[in-house]
């Protein structure tokens, strides 16, 4: 089974130009995601694995596959640590 990454759907977020603003559950904490983190965030809808997201990152930004995989993993780890997303085990939706 592949690991998919899912945004915390209890959180309110909006894309503001190139960035994404995520509002914490307390309504006070605000997390700003830059361009690449915003792309990764939007891809984390529970249907894609980190490797699939990295492929998309390569296509959208001028990075090597290795850089993309590292960036995706680092971003996911950080956002998961902040409680903004979590991993699930399951087959990708076809």
């Amino acid at each position: 089974m592949e690991t998919q990454i899912v945004r915390n759907e209890d959180l309110v977020w909006r894309r503001i130009e190139d960035e994404i603003v995520v509002i914490g559950n307390d309504g006070l904490a605000v997390h700003m995601l830059n361009k690449s983190a915003a792309y990764i965030w939007e891809q984390c809808d529970g249907t894609k694995s980190p490797d699939e997201i990295a492929v998309g990152l390569c296509e959208h930004f001028e990075v090597t596959p290795e850089e993309a995989r590292a960036d995706v993993q680092a971003t996911i780890d950080k956002l998961e640590g902040m409680g903004l997303m979590h991993k699930t085990e399951g087959n990708p939706v076809q």
């Binding site: 503001i16 130009e17 603003v21 605000v30 700003m32």
Partner: protein
């Protein structure tokens, strides 16, 4: 275009109630204390209304809360506090008839209507009532929203000076006086999204008590938003959209109501509204001092540049 609405002299009220207009919403206030009601009528004179009532506040004034009242309200979570002080114990009535509006019955202690307290308890109850009425008045529960701000109308358009408490909204209103514009409120404003006939956001005065005497039930299109920053100089900095969004959304009064929307629903509405406003009007950070001349010289210059942008 400026619009100014005023109730006629036969207006709203019987001897035991007043009706107040907050944007499109009409809220009636009844009270068993005629002196309190009379004072409220004077305070909110510009907002007296004879429109059909959307929501009713029934004030019951007591010398002291009874322990039974507090216990009953507490068990339902129906207490409004300021720190450790209980301000209001309330009960929401769902009227069975579809034609009748909802009513909230509020018990308050008499000392809160001491004139020196300036009736600020109403600053808590009226936004709650407004948003409660919006739940049924607007199909998705979302309507115009209240923003912590001072509004000054100049040359037919409104400049919004926004910021948390103690950033200078009342100071700006006092520095304006009658000379530099028309202050419609120095504490809170109601902002409506663009309608089908216009791209402009409209801003309306509301019956919320601030630090100055003016509370006007007038509306005007929003020219720009100036986010206030205390400083030792007068300066104006244009904000990018993200900066504007982050600061502005903290000044939007979250749509809390008596029944209690979910936090997510409230935050979602604030986020969507803030996105809309920051997309439509320019935002600036205004640093200012008590130098009245420097302030209005800066504002005049800004208006000229906005005039050029709009042409």
């Amino acid at each position: 275009m400026l619009s100014h609405w005023r109730a006629d002299s036969t207006g709203n009220s019987s001897s035991s109630k007043i009706q107040l207009q907050i944007g499109d919403v009409c809220c009636s206030v009844t009270c068993d204390d005629e002196e309190v009601l009379g004072n409220l009528g004077q305070l909110y004179f510009d907002f007296l209304s004879d429109q059909p009532v959307d929501f009713s506040i029934d004030l019951h004034i007591v010398q002291r809360f009874s322990s039974h009242c507090i216990a009953e309200a507490s068990s339902l979570g129906n207490i409004i506090r300021s720190g450790s002080n209980i301000l209001v114990a309330y009960w929401l009535t769902d009227n069975e008839s579809a034609n009748q509006n909802h009513t909230v019955s509020c018990t308050l202690e008499r000392h809160q209507f001491n004139p020196h307290f300036d009736f600020k308890i109403m600053n808590l109850l009226l936004p709650l009532s407004y948003y409660e009425a919006c739940r049924t008045r607007y199909s998705n529960g979302c309507g115009p929203m209240l923003v912590h701000s001072c509004g000054i109308i100049r040359h037919g358009r409104l400049m919004m000076f926004s910021g948390p408490s103690d950033t200078g909204k009342t100071t700006i209103a006092k520095l304006c006086g009658n000379e530099h514009g028309q202050v419609i409120n120095d504490e809170m404003l109601l902002v409506s999204g663009p309608d089908k006939d216009s791209d402009a956001l409209m801003v309306q005065g509301v019956p919320i008590i601030g630090g100055v005497a003016q509370r006007l039930n007038v509306s005007a299109p929003l020219a720009c938003v100036l986010l206030l920053k205390q400083s030792d100089r007068t300066a104006l900095n244009r904000l990018n959209r993200t900066e504007a969004y982050l600061q502005f959304m903290r000044q939007v009064i979250a749509p809390r109501d008596f029944e209690g929307r979910t936090k997510r629903a409230m935050l979602s509405q604030v986020a969507e509204f803030s996105d809309m406003v920051t997309n439509v009007v320019p935002f600036y950070e205004l640093e200012f001092t008590l130098n009245q001349r420097a302030l209005w010289k800066t504002i005049n210059k800004l208006e000229k540049s906005l005039g050029r942008e709009g042409s």
